[in-house]
Amino acid sequence: MLDVDIPSSVSTVELADRLGRVSGVKAVNVTVTDTDVEVLGLVIVIEGDNINYDDVKRVIEDLGGAIRSIDQVIVGEYILELNPQLLKER
């Protein structure tokens, strides 16, 4: 799960399409969370096996985007879900 800013002139459809073609990626969800005159704030969720993060980064940067933070990474043989209650208690 990535927190990304991209120029508003960039198509989110193109971004999602290019991310979907990165090796290891099985599914992509691009959600606009913030809109400005020149910048779109996005949350990008990418799922797959052995995702090549460097290629993901390259695609986003090639479209003029900037990765602000990596908010969630899940690695392992099964999906380890985070209990939201744990976050609230912190």
């Binding site: 800013d5 120029p7 005159v37 020149e38 910048v39 940067e61 003029g64 985007g65 900037a66």
Partner: protein, 159 residues
Amino acid sequence: MVSIDGRYLVLGFLDSVLTTLVLGETMRSTVKLVVIVTTINLITAFMAEYIEERSSLSHIERALLMRRGSLLRTSLHRRAIYDALIKGLVFGAVSLLGASVTNYTMYLVRVFWIPVIPVIILGVFGTLMSRYFRGGNAVLWLILYVMLGIVMSFIGTVV
């Protein structure tokens, strides 16, 4: 897909007609004149568009809190060059048309030093310019471009 504003087509045409009117009197080679006017307009249009695109990229860099020049290695910059090139080529093609038409009609009908056909063409295209301004007055634009045509051809004759 590059979108080309109609006013740039009209401006390209008007610009080439005016330049040809000034230079037409002094240059003997008609082909050379058309090539010079077209090339100048093509390069000028490309540079103007490219500078505007670069300025837009600089704004985006500031908005994204990026270092200056960060977007120069991205597809956004490549797209900006491509867009400027296409617009420059279109502007050049329109200029070629304007310069050619002016060049081949400027000696057909003359009143004193005034080449009548190119000046009429300027008037017609001048009225089109009024469409690109809110509340633009077609008659004023017609008079402006007819006057410009007369003055430019006078300068070409005197110089």
